[in-house]
């Protein structure tokens, strides 16, 4: 692995080591219309040395992403005009506090590389991975021809992609999520910039894939890159960060070595983030299930056609859910969890096997007969916004879902801790956490016996996630709901569920009480999932 070039890391005037990033008094404000401004960052100080990984953590809205963008001169991109001022904003020894757009363009991709969360959206589907990775070299005229190809392949290899000459010719859709993220990292390191800014680089990835990307970041750090990691994932922080900067409402409220911030946080913001992490077993364990099963799947199989031939998304799955039971379904993406959830909901028909509801046919019954009983088995979808008609207000959505009148709507909103006024809002104007609460309220509208939740918290930050998980636990206790919780996060499942099934390649590879599986995993897939869970104190 190459060490970053050009920038020596030594201050020429003093001979002292100088940081790759040195920010003092960074303020960012956005135009809020009618001449007013909204301050987002109130004087942030930040340094990153070569070979150091600094993590910036904070709740949603703390200003993390604005900070990341400001460090690339992109604060004003996409939306309101930004006013950026700083006493000092030095990148690789060059002060950019008053740099022009032109000067920033020379810096971006060369002195600082950016890796974004959305790997699919950041790669042009019509261009090869090689062309995307080579772009910084082309823009800055750093290498051409065979040399450019060689550097691209080196960068791909450094980013941990196998067979660079093959990958270089592929397009983003031919790569998995983790490989796309690695390709993005490759495009950021191809010019060997002294500083890499990573904005939530692992949030969209499976736990096991994320671990691989984090190991890659650790290697880059050891090779001398300065890393600024923006994240709300404290597990990622624990794995790679040397120092942590805690951001709260646009101010740095705490900073220090990662180990000490994570074990003995001094600020309320850091304590809040740590307390919100899902950890430990379910607070109120349930008695052993008794009585007949509520929802039962026998020999379930579902086949999807693909260009490479039919594949079994779900194969030979037996599953039993008792009244009031909370069942977790974990596995990596593509393991068949979501398909299993859809089979249990009778959203799809199994190609073999049968799902029964309270002992009567469910998957085998005609839709006309199922319609009335759908009130009993409800879905909380992965993407709550997509599941809401954009032309309908929250109140109308709840009425459509089965709320009898306006007072029922208010009661439902109250049960998920939302204000009555939320009924008049349009789904798009709600925050991620509010949308998920509305989705849960909607599922509760018909007083169901079973809730199927498909990754209900994977898109939310830890504090919002903790609120939703608490809500689910309370609802389950109060209403005696049976839950099927599909998640890639074992910690979330452990916190919420009594029993768990682990899926891999469409099959259930391990099942049992959550605490037993947590303490004594038997299958390699379960062990890998556990190993990927954040190793926090």
């Amino acid at each position: 692995m190459r060490t970053p070039g050009r920038f020596t890391g030594i201050d020429m005037t003093t001979g002292q080591p100088s940081p790759v990033l040195d920010v003092r008094g960074l303020r960012v404000a956005f135009d809020a219309g009618r001449g007013r401004r909204t301050d987002v960052l109130h004087g942030v100080d930040l340094t990153v040395a070569a070979g150091e990984c600094v993590a910036v953590v904070g709740a949603s809205g703390a200003g993390k992403s604005v900070l990341a963008r400001s460090l690339l001169g992109l604060a004003g991109e996409g939306g309101a005009r930004a006013h950026v001022t700083a006493e000092r904003l030095a990148l690789a020894g060059r002060d950019l506090a008053r740099a022009s757009q032109r000067a920033w363009r020379q810096v971006r991709g060369r002195a600082v590389g950016l890796v974004l969360q959305d790997a699919l959206g950041s790669l042009d589907p019509l261009r090869t991975v090689g062309a995307e990775v080579a772009e910084p070299l082309a823009v800055h005229r750093l290498a051409a021809g065979a040399e450019r190809t060689a550097r691209v392949e080196t960068a791909l290899a450094d980013a941990g992609l196998d067979r660079p000459p093959v990958r270089r010719r592929q397009r983003s859709e031919e790569l998995s999520g983790g490989m796309r993220q690695r390709a993005l990292v490759a495009s950021a390191i191809v010019t060997a910039p002294p500083l890499l800014v990573l904005d939530e680089p692992t949030t969209a990835l499976d736990a096991t894939v994320a671990v691989g990307v984090l190991d890659l970041l650790a290697r880059l750090r050891d090779a001398g890159h300065g890393l600024l990691l923006i994240t709300h994932d404290l597990g990622a922080v624990a794995r790679v960060a040397d120092r942590v900067v805690v951001l709260d409402a646009g101010r740095v409220v705490e900073q220090g070595p990662a180990a000490s911030v994570l074990t003995s946080p001094a600020s309320d913001a850091a304590r809040g983030l740590l307390a919100a992490l899902p950890r430990g077993p379910k607070p109120v364990p349930r008695d052993e299930p008794t009585g007949p099963p509520l929802l039962e799947g026998r020999g379930l199989r579902r086949v999807y056609p693909t260009p490479a031939g039919p594949i079994d998304a779900v194969r030979d799955v037996d599953l039993t859910l008792h009244a009031g039971e909370s069942l977790g379904v974990v596995g990596e993406s593509g393991s068949g969890k979501s398909t299993l959830a859809r089979l249990l909901l009778a959203a799809e028909r199994p190609d073999a096997g049968e799902v029964t509801l309270a002992g009567t046919p469910w998957s085998a019954a005609p839709e006309r007969q199922r319609r009335g009983r759908r009130a009993f088995v409800r879905l909380v979808p992965q993407d709550p916004l997509g599941a809401m008609d954009p032309r309908r207000s929250v109140g109308r959505i709840l009425r459509d879902a089965g709320a009898a009148d306006d007072s029922a709507v208010v009661r439902l909103l109250a049960s998920v801790r939302l204000e009555p006024a939320t009924a008049g809002r349009m789904p798009r104007s709600l925050s991620g956490g509010q949308r998920q609460r509305v989705a849960i309220a909607r599922a509760l509208a018909t007083d169901p016996g079973v809730l199927v939740l498909d990754e209900p918290v994977s898109a939310l930050d830890v504090q919002v996630q903790a609120g939703i998980l608490d809500l689910l636990a309370t609802l389950q206790r109060e209403r005696g709901l049976a839950l099927v919780l599909v998640s890639h996060d074992l910690a979330v499942v452990r916190r919420t569920c009594d029993t768990v099934v682990v899926m891999s390649g469409g099959e259930i590879v391990e099942r049992g009480p959550v605490e037993r599986v947590w303490a004594r995993p038997e299958h390699p897939v379960t062990r890998a999932l556990l190993a990927a869970a954040p190793a926090l104190p």
Binding site: L345, A347, R370, R371, G372, R373, R374, A375, R378, L379, P381, D383, G386, A387, M388, D389, P390, R391, D400, A401, G402, M426, R442, T446
Partner: protein
């Protein structure tokens, strides 16, 4: 909120459209005279007092004829678009919601219609029915249908598999309820925008056919036919062409601006 979003241009366009609709509904309010009344003593008067847009070779007031012509020109645009949308609704919804074989058949029909030049279609209809408004309206209607049908088919398909329609199905909503509550509203609103743009286009088309003598026949006050009649006097009496020409331009522009403004305001 929405009022501000429509913008100055949007509101101006809306005002023009309201005026046009008034000219269609009650032309006598804007121009009380008889559009076909001839007055040989006042032939070919340039625009001036009493004749804001001048008079033609038979002494007919151009302003009065333009206002009364709105009914046939704009009305014809509306009727043609209605025909087009009606055909498109049948084709698009059948293709979007029906079985795969039907979708394929409809797609082929739409492609054939697309490939067929409007002018040839108009000539064909004129040959069958004789020249007149009916033939040109039908021709423009049929010619615009495939465009709308394609938009509808794509949109219906997208909405039908969307998360919220799936959610409604899993809530136990039946086929009819999903169609009327979710699929149609979310499909038709984007179409409203396109249709507003399309009416302006249809007006230009019908006027064009009128100019070629394939639409309304003289002495009918129709903008395209008026343009055609004024063509002979273009060097001596320019106002004969400017009046109906402006009317066509302003109508098409107003509908286009309004359509775009609506497009910005509409919740997609």
């Amino acid at each position: 909120m929405r009022a501000r979003l429509l913008g100055v241009a949007g509101w101006a366009a809306l005002a023009v459209v309201v005026l046009l609709l008034l000219a269609v509904a009650a032309p006598d309010l804007l121009a009380p005279g008889d559009p076909d009344a001839t007055d040989v003593t006042a032939s070919l008067h340039p625009p001036g007092w009493g004749h804001p847009l001048g008079t033609d070779e038979l002494g007919r007031d151009v302003w009065t004829r333009v206002v009364h012509g709105a009914r046939s020109s704009l009305g014809v645009g509306l009727v043609a678009t209605t025909i087009g949308v009606a055909i498109a609704l049948v084709l698009g919804l059948a293709a979007g919601l029906g079985p795969r074989w039907l979708s394929t058949v409809v797609a082929r029909i739409v492609e054939i219609l697309y490939a067929f030049p409007t002018l040839v279609l108009a000539l064909l209809l004129v040959a069958v029915r004789g020249p007149g408004l009916a033939a040109s309206v039908l021709a423009v209607g049929i010619a615009t249908a495939p465009g709308y049908a394609r938009i509808l088919r794509a949109r219906v398909r997208g909405v039908a598999v969307s998360g919220y329609v799936t959610a409604a199905r899993l809530e136990g909503a039946g086929w009819w309820r999903r169609l009327t509550r979710h699929v149609l509203p979310n499909t038709l609103w984007p179409l409203v925008v396109v249709v507003t743009l399309g009416i302006g286009q249809a007006v230009v088309w019908v006027a064009g056919l009128g100019f070629l003598g394939l639409g309304a026949l003289p002495p009918a006050a129709e903008w395209g036919a008026m343009l055609n009649a004024g063509r002979v006097y273009l060097t001596t009496a320019w106002w004969l062409s400017v009046g109906p020409g402006l009317a066509i331009t302003v109508t098409a522009a107003a509908l286009t601006v309004l359509g775009r403004a609506l497009g910005r305001v509409s919740p997609s």
